[in-house]
Amino acid sequence: MPPTYSHSPHPDGRSSARTSRRRFLQTMTAAASSVVLTNCARNLSNPSAANSPTAGSPSPGGNGNTLYVYTWANYTDEELLKNFEAKTGIRTVVDIFDSNEAMLAKVEAGGANAYSVIFPSDYIVAEMLDKGLLTELDRSRLPGLSNLNPKWSNPTYDPNNAHSVPATWGTTGLIYDPARVNGKTVTDWNFLWQNKGSLTRRVTLINDVREVMGATLRSLGFSYNAKDPKQIEQAYRKLVELKPAIASFLTNGWEDQLASGDLSVSMAYSSDAISLIEEQSSLEYVIPRSGTSIWTDTMVIPRSAPNPDAAYEWINFMLDPANAASVVERLNFATPNKIAFEKLPTNIRNNSSLYPPEDVLAKCEGISPVPPEVADVYDRFWTQLTSA
């Protein structure tokens, strides 16, 4: 019988030592992970502490003459940035977001110390104020504030514009291709429901819970800011009926397909709609008769802005009537700047899609934040609508 070994000893004879070393390393890794994790959860639940400019490593926007701006698509263009740099010597870098909630999520998760100027919409400004994310603006550094149209000098979302400066405003409406709706004219939200058979997968709606549910609430005669769960449920059921007609929920990105005829009607923000109509004048934009939402996009300086001086320069630059007027002409959004408005050419001032008459504006509402329980109701129905 050849001698056999019951187990071959490790040549260096350290089998038992290796097991205990591995176990030691495993326990240390587990301990280190748990320490890191508890700190992470605490940071996420207390974003203002993590976001202070002195905490953490130097942020990218820290050096002297660069301004980081976080804004919507099509609110800035090369010419604007070049003019700004020529005037102030500050280089600007622009990042884009396409929904307020995505912006808020990034800011709360610790991204705020990367940007000095952010362009949130009205209702989100109120929410950011509640969370303590914005600085109070030093009015002595903003002489251009007096240029604003008095309608915007004391908004409900931010009394006296203490923390924000209105930059653009507009409406939400329906842009459609008259050639593809069988010669009918679209006048109201109900057009979508009345023609849902012929519009199967030819409609896009904005990917925003308040805009879409609000428009449906309006078409039922309720307010955009309805708080009654029964009304919200009615709006949800009405949207479920429209589901077969909806191709997808897109805030931007419907432009090509509408222009080429793959879509018939899109719900759009006025600035995007008018930009597309400039390129293809056969399309039409309509503000629904039963009313729609008026939105205002503002400029704010977050509490952890790396370069507040540059931010003030930017805001002053945008408030200057000459700059505001030229930007509006190129980029097709409406300006709340009274002096800039007067500088605009007549055809733009009279563009009723861009600057609707007072009687139309009277029926429009701004979206305002709702209490958390109501927000949960909206969220629940939106989730069910988009997941079905």
Partner: protein, 306 residues
């Protein structure tokens, strides 16, 4: 009867002195660590720690960013499985797309891989394989956008069908578009894995089968397929894993009624609800499903092919 006699101690070289033996032990410890450190550190920091973080977030019911974390519990997981909530439907739809695109890639990929491995002239094989892998050199986002251009109502597909006289198809923003997009994205992987498996096909067994009276079809099902089962398992599971978590194709091609688990997680983190607790728990479920698939892949898949 032979015995093995342990070598006589005196014929062995002298045991090295204690000093160099200690250094050798250190080398034996340090060397693997140094070689493994870059990849190990990368995996630890970029895979293990984030997964643990998501796991921790998933255990905080209803965690929303900016709110204090109120205490641990499995509320998020209960929420997913509560009847009346749409989450199970979303998971089901992801599985539907994943299984469907796996079958589709298998159906499309097997003949191609078979032809390249068995029937094509040997000098063309590498070129054909490169041809199949070439789409992977472009971004998957661009490829999905290309499919939008092809599949939309006024797109390329309908122009061609119109020219032949077939009525136009309306596949964009519906499930067929998602299947097409996913099958297209993952076909190269399937073809490569099946090729690796088919290359090792033992042709003598096919000869033997025909000698014993099998016709080509019987030979295929009874000889070729069983031999390539590990490759089929590996390719199928790989495509299943990739398509289960795919975000780009369902988002761009799926439309309003094709919510998958990855789109849903995206909405929870960056959408209106901002319910990071729920999003994290769905992420953990996806990670679990993928881990199960990887375990199956390791057990049944063809190791040499993947």
């Amino acid at each position: 009867m032979s015995t093995t006699i342990p070598p006589v101690p005196s014929s062995l070289p002298d045991k090295p002195s204690a000093q160099t033996s200690w250094r050798r032990k250190l080398n034996k410890l340090v060397q693997p660590l140094v070689l493994l450190a870059p990849a190990g550190l990368w995996l630890l920091v970029l895979l293990v720690l984030p997964t643990l973080l998501i796991f921790e977030l998933s255990l905080i019911p209803g965690f929303r960013l900016g709110q204090p974390a109120d205490g641990y519990g499995i509320g998020n997981y209960l929420e997913i499985f509560r009847p009346g909530n749409p989450y199970l439907q979303v998971i089901g739809r992801s599985l539907f797309f994943a299984v469907g695109s796996t079958l589709l890639t298998l159906l499309l990929g097997f003949p191609v891989a078979y032809w390249i491995a068995v029937m094509a002239p040997a000098r063309w094989r590498n070129l054909l394989l490169v041809g199949f892998v070439l789409p992977l050199w472009t971004s998957s986002l661009l490829r999905a956008y290309a499919w939008i251009t092809i599949l939309r109502p006024t797109g390329l597909l309908n122009s061609i069908l119109g020219a032949i006289g077939i009525p136009g198809q309306d596949w964009l923003n519906r499930s067929p578009a998602v299947f097409i997009g996913m099958a297209y994205s993952f076909l190269p992987y399937m073809v490569l894995i099946l090729y690796a498996s088919l290359e090792k096909l033992d042709k003598r067994l096919l000869e033997a089968a025909s000698d014993l009276g099998a016709n080509p079809r019987q030979a295929f099902w009874k000889v070729t397929v069983p031999q390539t089962l590990p490759g089929i398992a590996a390719g199928g599971l790989l495509v299943f894993i990739a398509s289960l978590g795919d975000f780009v194709v369902p988002e761009l091609l799926g439309g309003a009624s094709s919510m998958t688990i990855s789109r849903f997680i995206f909405n929870q983190f960056l959408g209106a609800t901002r319910n990071w607790g729920l999003g994290s728990s769905l992420s953990m479920i996806l990670i679990f499903a993928v881990s199960v698939s990887i375990a199956l892949l390791i057990k049944y898949g063809d190791r040499d092919a993947v």
